[in-house]
Symmetry: C2
Subunit: 183 residues, 2 copies
DNA sequence: GTCTATATCAGGATAGAC
DNA sequence: GTCTATCCTGATATAGAC
């Protein structure tokens, strides 16, 4: 699964070849098929693996010091923009999943669920900053912030946007949204 | 080229098969190769075609009534979110191009140029609303707005975000950015 | 310019031994 | 569980006639 994540980060979901994956993992292709049935099964397991790994990252943050809700939010959003290989692999794989879902309805359900959960988490963090704000407002802000994140993520991964600048843009967007909600 | 745009919208850049493209255009595959040399050449021509077509849409708007600069901006940004087949085809193809660029460095130059031009256009429109604002501020706002657009576009095309809601989110984002710049 | 074959090849998948 | 060897399909690309 770790090898698969690396290959996906390098070639994309649609560029993944079973042979390269096998080489990356240091086994034969036949063994991959033995464990995961076929290409689609391999992909499913890999995406699940990546999803779990991403949850692990965020988990630590949310329980963190109750100190500053706003910093928690910013921290969480900025997790996506780091130069660690695992983060890059996760972001790449998720980006691929999103892009693939446009043409493969079978992926849409999984994707929609994950996206909704993500939006809900962000809305929740926003709500902790100022508990009086009605839920629909929080959701709309969360949708804009996560939407922006996804857009900038693609730019970053394709080399069109330096990491530091991406982080600045996100921070400022957070400031704008909070400003709007608390005014 | 029109057939190619339809096929790309249906299958994605990476899912495009020369045979399906030929069938869509009502000719043989050999004829495609005769005109466009190979798959890559066909893709290049198609993307150029799509790009030109997109320019045509926006062109009309920018020269429009000098009435309300802000409305011009909002109009321009919302052009991406319409249910017309051509718009959907263009959005899909551009989204595919962006996603592909992560794995194909050869595409990055074209993409970066187009993205920069797009950001510049938006920054320009923002500048017309309030000419005293320094350029870097305008650019940052434009980067956030276009970034958001790209993120929401993917969600819309994958069926995760209704068109009307996408438009609301964009409108509100425009309001936030203008509010920020003119405060 | 356009077609009907067809060559070619990459890559997914399996058989069968160990 | 794991390998080597191989089959087979699907897709790009070309040859050669009209």
């Amino acid at each position: 699964m770790e090898g698969a994540a690396r290959v996906i980060a390098r070639r994309g979901v649609r560029g993944l070849r079973m042979e390269e994956l096998a080489a990356e993992a240091g086994v034969s292709t036949a063994l991959i098929y033995y464990h995961f049935k076929d290409r689609a099964g391999t992909l499913r397991h890999t995406l699940e693996f990546i999803s779990d790994r991403a949850d692990r990252y965020t988990a630590g943050e949310e329980e963190g010091a109750e100190g500053d809700a706003r910093q928690d939010l910013e921290q969480t959003l900025l997790l996506e923009f780091q130069d660690a290989p695992e983060v890059r692999e996760n972001s790449t794989a998720w980006g691929e999943l999103r892009a693939s879902a446009i043409f493969e309805p079978g992926l849409r359900a999984d994707l929609a669920r994950a996206t909704l959960a993500w939006i809900h988490d962000v809305a929740d963090l926003l709500g902790r900053i100022e508990p009086t704000i009605p839920a629909p407002e929080l959701t709309a802000s969360a949708e804009r912030l996560t939407g922006l994140l996804e857009g900038l993520s693609t730019r970053w991964l394709s080399g069109a946007l330096p990491l530091a600048h991406a982080r600045e843009l996100v921070s400022e967007a957070v400031a704008l949204e909070i400003d709007r909600l608390t005014r």
